[in-house]
């Protein structure tokens, strides 16, 4: 199992390089990729001012240099070779003289005993290194720094802060939606399969058909009108649910109340699919020989269902829910827009439209990592659901 997990984690590396490399190439060669002009809109920007901003943002460097810079910020470990000559510049400001093998930065001066040092790779840009300490092995030193995803080209804020503030909301929403999906989707599927052709089976079948057909944003809008406006006017607020936002210091409800409508909306289509998959899988399993044998042996219907049938029917459902959870954690743009939810989906969408590439790169990297972890968790769960599945050597 450990080897399997390690193998899967290592697979992330080529996927990460492949995706981010393609993104960088697209960002560099996409027509109209001029984020500085986009900041200004239709008004003209003085060409000299624009050139200055472009240079300070590093956008005039070749794409592979920008890519290297991005990887360097992501790595959090920076190898530096101090060449032992006298420190130039102000105290604490080191002078860069080049790179060794395109990876290790060569710096004039002695290895500082401690504390961060700063340097200026280009006008107006100050980079701090060794904020979290350094490990000197002779002249070769490893400097440790927090994650650096660069700064937003439009908002003038660190990308780490932008995504760091948005991701908790995305996670909250995704978690709430997936819990609804698991409870209602699987529950409805089980009821529908067990009571085939009954009133409840028809209700589940019809409602899942409707939910699958209804656009998510339309459902969201309808829920907003129903619970946020119409019922409020009718009842004076008795069944009122805040139609949007994530709460605030002066909001009338605790934060979790604001999650209700967006979570229902986000979970709607997936719940329908989960119910349908559960139903069809369970019906198939309930028709198997071993289930007939279990019944013939005298096991109670609930024991047959819960101990034997459901576990075997769960694998495709778990796969679906796992993939869905990963997709939700990548951000739900429509739901976030309709409900004004401050998640990561709309942040990345806005960044794509505005050519704010640092946010796009940071967001995509985070999504890759999240989806990889979720998929790995789903794969591992198979081993618990089906004893025949093993991930040790020769077992996969």
């Amino acid at each position: 199992m450990f080897q399997y997990i390690l193998r899967r984690l290592l697979q992330f590396i080529p996927v990460f390089f492949g995706v981010t490399l393609v993104l960088f190439l697209i960002a560099h060669y996409l027509p109209g990729a001029d984020p500085v002009q986009l900041r200004v809109g239709e008004k003209a920007l003085d060409p000299e001012r624009k050139a200055l901003i472009v240079h300070q943002l590093g956008l005039d460097r070749p794409w592979y240099v920008q890519y290297g810079d991005y990887l360097s910020g992501l790595s959090m470990i920076h190898p530096v070779y101090y060449d032992g000559s006298e420190i130039t510049g102000d105290k604490g400001v080191r002078a860069e003289v080049g790179t060794i093998a395109a990876i290790v930065t060569r710096v004039q001066g002695d290895v500082p005993a401690g504390g961060a040092t700063t340097y200026t790779p280009r006008s107006g840009v100050i980079v701090s290194r060794g904020q979290w300490g350094r490990l000197a092995l002779g002249r070769l030193t490893f400097e440790f720094d927090p994650l650096d995803l660069g700064n937003s080209l439009y908002q003038g804020r660190p990308v780490r802060d932008i995504l760091g503030q948005a991701y908790p909301y995305t996670f909250e929403l995704a978690l709430a939606a997936i819990i609804l999906e698991i409870i209602i989707g699987i529950g409805a599927g089980i009821v529908s399969a067990v009571k085939q052709y009954s009133f409840w089976d028809i209700v589940v079948t019809l409602s899942t058909s409707i939910l699958v057909s209804v656009p998510v944003f339309w459902l969201g809008l309808m829920l907003q009108y129903l619970f946020g406006i119409w019922l409020k006017k009718l009842t004076g607020g008795a069944f009122y649910l805040p139609p949007m936002g994530a709460g605030g210091t002066s909001s009338n409800f605790p934060t979790w109340v604001y999650l209700i409508l967006p979570a229902i909306t986000l979970a709607s289509v997936s719940t329908a699919y989960a119910a349908r998959i559960m139903r069809s899988q369970l019906l198939e399993v309930l028709g198997q020989d071993y289930i007939r044998t279990a019944r013939a042996k005298g096991l109670s219907p609930s024991a047959v269902l819960w101990k034997h049938a459901i576990k075997n029917a769960m694998i495709p459902v778990v796969t679906f829910i796992g993939l869905d959870f990963g997709a939700m954690l990548a951000g739900a743009i429509l739901t976030e827009t309709v409900f004004n939810w401050p998640g990561v989906g709309s942040a990345i969408y806005k960044a794509i439209v505005g050519r704010d590439f640092p946010i796009v790169f940071g967001g995509v990297t985070a999504i890759l990592l999240v989806v990889m972890i979720v998929n790995l968790a789903v794969d591992i769960s198979y081993a618990f659901l089906d004893p025949r599945i093993r991930y040790d050597a020769g077992g996969e």
Binding site: V40, G124, D201, A246
Partner: protein, 565 residues
């Protein structure tokens, strides 16, 4: 099977019942309350999109400016109800020398930042230097992030040197003493007092910009919690993508607001904001698409188009902004003034305003919108709709019935709602024999196209930074202006613009701009199509809230009636 049929029937009855109930949704209405005596207290909620910056040095779009102008007070202020009038603000009075190159502002001695420290001329020197300096550090990132709105100070002496980083000071600004701020310009500019009214040109406290702002024992970057001299102050740091809360500044030197505070609620989408307004959670919102007539019916219309009172809540007044077509005067077809005239005469502007905008825009008869001092009704004579005259003009230009013109490219940025307008214009051009095809591109690509002059006829909108004629005529028609996308070159206009700028007498100056306007309109380098108008609505809680032609709210006069629903 019988059980199955019973189940189906039961489900069908339930579905029918839900459908009937859904049709019984009540209409949204408001209950206006009476009373005209302002009441102190209460908080107003206001729609904005996520700003890029609220630090004055780089507030560039309307959202940031809306917040920033509650926190900061500039030297002068435009009267919210009369954009031709300038009022004292941080400056009690101002004057210029004989040729309008040196301006002296006398500051109000009571002016203070919200932390109680006095505002002095040095604070203006620091603030303006910060705007121009190419090495200004963004307090949120710690990196240099030069202001993109430094053009406001483009004609202050020493601008180029400081912008290039050759020097560290802006030569043309001087603190003569604590209460006297002197500005020297490189060229005369008689309307400079309007320029300094821009919210971005407010003073800032250097110590807090560079050291951070204390909030509950921790230091917050100035960019997230600016401290200014305006009628309000931040109650907590900016909650990105969610809200910005400001409360009344009791150290404000002017009339204290009635409100306890304003909650700027941040929305990703104007439709979402309008939904929240209908739910009673937002006091001032854009009106949803296609719902203007319904909103007017439900909430009433403001009498003057800008001020909200109960029962008169929809503000639909004219903005200081014009939507226009740009003709590439270097193009082989559109270099012909007769062709430009013909296209202008052929466009049915009223139909565009009625069909696409439900009558909430006005046909443009000038490049300068109404409300700007110097606007003259019908000044651009070729903006009248006259198909016969258009055909005659086209024939006079040598292209009778459009023969010889070929297919014309009608360029615009896609995905921003311009398609419907362009369809009507395309149809109008067809009526005089010109076949136009769409050439749409994403906004960044479209801008590049305009700059590279790879277009024949395109569209743009111009929103005034300051409500003066110069802010339309100079950027759009001065031959070296970066905003002159039509590449219009007229040395006589260039000379006249410089002369107008140095005309101190207001009436004479306005006359001069009107004469320039008359010259330009005869050439039709651009084709004004319509004037923008507000489409916003306020809740019945609001009294005397004005949202002016520049799109800035006057939060000092508004009061709320907490009892209204």
């Amino acid at each position: 099977m019988r059980r199955f049929r019973k189940s189906v029937a039961l489900v069908a009855v339930c579905a029918l019942a839900i459908g009937v109930l859904a049709g019984c949704a009540p209409k949204t209405t408001t209950t206006p309350t009476g009373g005209t005596t302002p009441k102190a207290g209460g908080t107003m909620s206001f729609y904005i999109g996520e700003p890029a910056y609220i630090d004055p040095y780089n507030t560039q779009e309307s959202e940031g400016t809306e917040v920033e102008q509650t926190l900061f007070d500039s030297l002068t202020r435009v009267d919210p109800l009369d954009p031709t009038k300038l009022l004292p603000a941080a400056a009690d009075s101002w004057s210029s020398n004989a040729d309008a190159t040196v301006w002296t502002f006398k500051l109000n001695p009571k002016d203070k930042f919200s932390d109680g420290t006095a505002v002095t001329a040095k604070d203006f020197v620091y603030a303006w230097t910060r705007i121009v300096n190419g090495k200004t550090v963004n307090t949120l990132t710690g990196q240099a992030d030069p202001s993109i709105i430094s053009y406001h100070l483009g004609f202050v002496k020493g601008f180029d040197a400081l912008a290039a980083g050759d020097v560290a000071v802006l030569e043309g600004v001087k603190a003569v003493d604590d209460l006297t701020f002197e500005v020297t310009l490189t060229k005369p500019f008689a309307d400079f007092a309007f320029v300094v009214a821009h919210p971005a040109l407010a003073p800032v406290p250097q110590a807090l910009v560079e050291g951070g702002v204390d909030f509950n024992g921790t230091k917050v970057a100035f960019g997230d919690m600016p401290v200014g001299n305006g009628p309000f102050k931040m109650s907590e740091p900016w909650k990105h993508e969610q809200y910005i809360k400001v409360v009344r500044n009791d150290n404000f030197y002017g009339d204290k607001p009635f409100l306890d505070g304003v909650d700027f609620k941040i929305y990703k989408d104007t439709e979402a904001a309008y939904t929240d307004f209908q739910a009673g959670n937002l006091d001032f919102s854009p009106i949803g698409t296609g719902q203007i007539k319904a909103a007017i019916e439900a909430y009433g219309q403001s009498e003057n188009g800008y001020t909200v009172n109960p029962g008169k809540q929809c503000v639909l007044g004219a903005e200081n902004a014009t939507y226009y077509l740009i003709c590439n005067t270097e193009d082989k077809i559109f270099k012909n003034a007769g062709v430009r005239k013909a296209v202008s005469l052929a466009i049915n502007r009223q139909a565009i305003c009625d069909i696409v905008f439900e009558g909430t825009r006005d046909p443009a008869d000038n490049i300068i919108p109404p409300g700007i001092a110097g606007y003259q009704k019908g000044a651009w004579v070729d903006t009248k709709y006259d198909v016969a005259a258009a055909k005659t003009a086209l024939a006079d230009a040598g292209f009778a019935d459009g023969k010889g013109i070929g297919t014309v490219k009608l360029s615009f940025n896609s995905g921003a709602g311009h398609e419907k307008i362009m369809e009507l214009i395309q149809s109008d051009m067809k009526a005089i024999g010109i076949t136009a095809v769409f050439d749409s591109a994403e906004f960044p690509v479209y801008l590049k196209q305009l700059d590279a002059k790879k277009f024949q006829i395109g569209r743009l909108g111009w929103i005034a930074d300051y409500p003066i004629c110069d802010n339309f005529l100079y950027p759009l028609f001065q031959s070296k202006s970066g905003d002159n996308k039509s590449a219009y070159k007229n040395p006589a206009v260039d000379t006249a613009l410089d002369a107008a700028r140095s005309t101190l007498d207001t009436a004479a100056r306005i006359k001069a701009y009107q004469a320039i306007n008359a010259t330009v309109q005869a050439d039709n380098p651009v084709i004004p199509v319509m004037f923008y108008k507000h489409t916003r609505v306020g809740s019945s809680r609001l009294h005397d809230f004005t949202w002016d032609a520049q799109g800035l709210g006057d939060f000092t006069k508004v009061w709320v009636d907490a009892a209204a629903k």
